[in-house]
């Protein structure tokens, strides 16, 4: 539990998001193109972080289904940015596997079939912004 609390803090730090701002309108899930393939839906991600249930998030299928299209980030009326939270959880998982901080220039060399595609897509999107 304690470590999950720490992880939740880490997620907030990485994403720069305050999940308490969420008013649970569901617009993120309404807007998500990968909704059907997700086990934990985007709006639920926010609640999971709020409730510090990180374990389940790290194991979720959704984590690698999110396209990082950031439609939810654009549309969220409360500036909660669920996409960033998902991205943060992904980073968390990856870091625990010792795949620390990546810079876009390093990626081609480091390209390793073990690294999930989504992470790369997400990283590219993130750095493009």
């Amino acid at each position: 539990m304690k470590s999950e609390k720490k992880q939740a803090e880490k997620i907030k730090e990485i994403s720069g998001v305050n999940p308490l701002k969420c008013m649970k309108c569901g617009k993120c899930s309404a807007t998500c193109p990968s909704f059907a393939e997700m086990d934990i839906k985007p709006h639920q991600f926010v609640s999971y972080v709020q409730n510090e249930e990180i374990e389940e998030l790290t194991k979720s299928v959704s984590l690698w289904k999110c396209l990082s299209c950031f439609a939810c980030v654009e549309r969220c009326p409360r500036d909660v940015k669920p996409g960033k939270i998902i991205d943060a959880v992904r980073q968390l998982v990856e870091r625990e596997k010792d795949g620390d901080y990546l810079s876009p220039n390093e990626i081609p060399e480091l390209l390793d079939p073990e690294i999930p595609q989504q992470l790369l897509v997400s990283a590219f999107r993130r750095y493009r912004r």
Binding site: C25, K27, A30, K41, Q44, R75, P77
Partner: protein
């Protein structure tokens, strides 16, 4: 040096639990000038005030310091109490040891130390207080209401009924406001026009009410009880006294291509027009920006067909200057601009409309004569989707942070009316929360669901995608079943957030009334003075103060009227004696102070001055204490310190600074 009494309030345990009040009393007795100090559980109580009064008399006190709650709370209470005991009320100072001390600190030692310092600062200040006399100013027994919607009309009627003349200034060609655009009203489903029109007629006919339509407030000067207002009566191009309201000019006008504002631009109107059939006054206006005569010089048909000879192309704007004792702001609201909400396809599809547009569509006098139809192809919709909270409760810059309050109810109303009139139309409402506090409100909403079969889905819509076949694909969440819903709709109605009428910022500036970050006018106290502006003599009616529905607006309008009547009923007002004053011996007459005075309260006179035996004519500043509001801008501009603010003098503030830094 004054003989000072210090009174320390426990405020029950509010203060005493954190501040050692006995210690404050003990320390007070050590301060120079303090001849009396005591504490009491509730200083503001009758018994507490009696203690202050007794001490003033027995100890012959010249100054009083009350260590208690914020002066914004009880300064007046204690001043009045002191006055009753024969002390000038301005010899009382408050040390705020509750809001600024006991409530924010937890450590008793720390809080007590701070309370003692605050007490010392107040004692240091009161030592330099001088008795001040409140002046008097006359009250002009006439009120101005800015805005002629239901709020303005109701306020004006109430004031007029009390026997005071009222002027209404309305920007558009007719009074009536937003309510005149509505079809039915919740929760009773009354016809809006049916209940509004009699009020409009009554206002128009009332001997005490004078209506300036197509007019705007241009300049406001003066102060409570004595405002002088310039009203710009825009050129109507039609002589109000001659026009019979026959309407021929509008029929014959060849230019019928102007978007009809009243119908939210859903259809067009003529260049000479009355906004709607029941308009008051029933006198048309020529829209000079669209009139062929004004654009090209050729036409003049309306003048030719007008049998009364009322059309006057030469008419000019007119400035009317009038004096008022009170001003009520009732400027109302508008819907926010939805251009930034691409995801709902508002600007892409004609069939995505706002609720107010739906009102016009449903209205018999509207663009579709009351038939529910798609604006794109005129077909009757089968599937309708309502989206709530569009732009309300938003943390981003596109929308508003607040709840617009009326949308839940009017959406239920619309859904119910559609289901009632067109039972074959399916209605779906996407909501985040359904907010229905209000008499018979929740029952109304439940009826929509239970009796009319409106489909309420908890979840927001992510996007609306116009399809090639003209349908609208709505993609939304159903949070309760944790599903993403794709729904084809014929029409989508957006419950757009409401915002204060954009002109209110300008009006607030003229009135020196404060507005909040959302441009709603600020009330003097959120709970205790909700219909007054902090600026004396300015009252708030309707949505200009915050979102509200019709019944709430009408009750606030009445409340604002009562406050205005209360002011107008007085013959004289006592003025704030904490005004600026120039020391003639020190004044340079340099005019810098007049340059910064927001009230034009400073003028210059050439006077014969006797400066310690040197007699000479000097140009010196003179403050009109009736105009001065006591901001103190002049005092800092004055390099010699000749200008000082009574009640907040340089020496008093410096004494507080010294006491705090001791």
């Amino acid at each position: 040096m004054q003989r000072i009494g210090v009174f320390v309030c426990h405020c029950g345990s509010n203060i005493a639990a954190t501040v050692d009040v006995k210690k404050v009393v003990e320390m007070a007795m050590c301060e120079p000038g303090v001849v009396h100090a005591e504490d009491y559980p509730y200083m503001c109580s009758e018994a507490g005030q009696a203690k202050i009064q007794a001490a003033i008399k027995e100890k012959n006190l010249g100054g009083v310091v009350v260590c208690s709650c914020s002066p914004r709370m009880h300064e007046n209470t204690f001043r009045k109490a002191a006055e009753k005991a024969g002390l000038n009320p301005y010899m009382v100072e408050i040390a705020n040891i509750r809001e600024h001390c006991s409530w924010i600190h937890k450590n008793m030692e720390e809080a007590t130390e701070k309370a003692v310092i605050l007490m010392k600062a107040a004692v240091a200040k009161v030592n330099l207080n001088t008795p001040l006399q409140a002046g008097e100013s006359r009250v002009t027994k006439r009120a101005l209401v800015i805005g002629g919607g239901i709020a303005g009309i109701q306020t004006a009627l109430d004031i007029a009924e009390a026997g005071y003349p009222v002027d209404i200034v309305e920007k558009t060609p007719s009074i009536g406001g937003r309510m005149s655009q509505l079809d039915k009203t919740f929760p009773t489903l009354d016809c809006s026009a049916c209940i509004l029109t009699p009020k409009m007629v009554e206002a128009n006919a009332h001997p005490n009410i004078n209506i300036y339509t197509y007019s705007e407030v241009e300049k406001v000067s003066g102060f409570v009880g004595d405002f002088t207002v310039d009203i710009r009566k825009k050129a109507r191009s039609v002589d109000m006294s001659k026009c019979t309201g026959c309407g021929v000019c509008q029929e014959k006008c060849p230019n019928k291509k102007t978007p009809n504002e009243f119908n939210r631009g859903l259809n067009n109107r003529s260049a000479i027009y009355t906004p709607f059939a029941q308009a008051i006054p029933n006198v048309p206006v020529i829209d000079r920006e669209h009139c062929t005569k004004f654009l090209t010089g050729k036409c003049g048909i309306c003048a030719k067909v007008c049998q009364a000879g009322a059309v006057d192309y030469e008419q000019q704007d007119e400035i009317i200057t009038e004096k008022y004792g009170a001003i009520v702001v009732a400027t109302g609201f508008n819907m926010i601009n939805l251009d930034k909400y691409d995801e709902y396809a508002y600007s892409q599809s004609k069939d995505v409309i706002t609720s107010l547009e739906l009102e016009r569509i449903m209205n018999a006098a509207g663009p579709t004569k009351g038939h529910l139809e798609r604006l794109s192809d005129g077909k009757a919709p089968k599937e309708m989707v309502f989206i709530q909270c569009v732009g309300s409760r938003c943390a981003d810059k596109r929308g508003k942070s607040y709840c617009s309050k009326i949308c839940c109810m009017y959406t239920a109303k619309h859904a119910m009316l559609i289901r009632d009139k067109y039972p074959d139309v399916n209605v779906t409402v996407f909501y985040i929360d359904v907010r229905t506090p209000g008499k018979n409100f929740d029952e109304f909403y439940r009826r929509a669901v239970e009796e009319y079969g409106v489909n309420y889905i908890k979840g927001q819509v992510g996007k609306v995608i116009p399809q090639p076949d003209g349908k609208l694909l709505v993609q939304g969440s159903d949070l309760l079943s944790n599903k993403q819903i794709l729904k084809e709709a014929d029409m989508v109605v957006l419950a757009a957030a409401i915002e204060p009428e954009p002109g209110v910022r300008n009006i607030a500036t003229m009135l020196t009334a404060s507005i909040d970050t959302n441009d709603f006018l600020t009330e003097a106290h959120a709970k205790l003075r909700p219909v007054e502006s902090p600026t004396a003599g300015i009252f708030l009616s309707g949505v200009c103060q915050g979102p509200k529905d019709i019944p709430e607006t009408v009750s606030q309008a009445g409340a604002a009227a009562v406050k205005a009547i209360g002011l107008l009923a007085k013959d004289k007002l006592t003025t704030n004696p904490c005004t600026a004053k120039a020391d003639e011996l020190m004044c340079n007459g340099c005019s810098q102070c007049a340059n910064v005075c927001p009230y034009g309260a400073i003028s210059y006179e050439t006077k014969l001055i006797n400066d310690h035996g040197v007699r000479e004519d000097r140009r010196v500043a003179v403050v009109n204490s009736a105009l001065c509001q006591g901001c103190g801008a002049c005092t800092v501009t004055c390099p010699s310190g000749a200008m000082d603010l009574q009640g907040f003098s340089n020496r008093q503030i410096l004494a507080e600074v010294d006491a705090i830094c001791r």
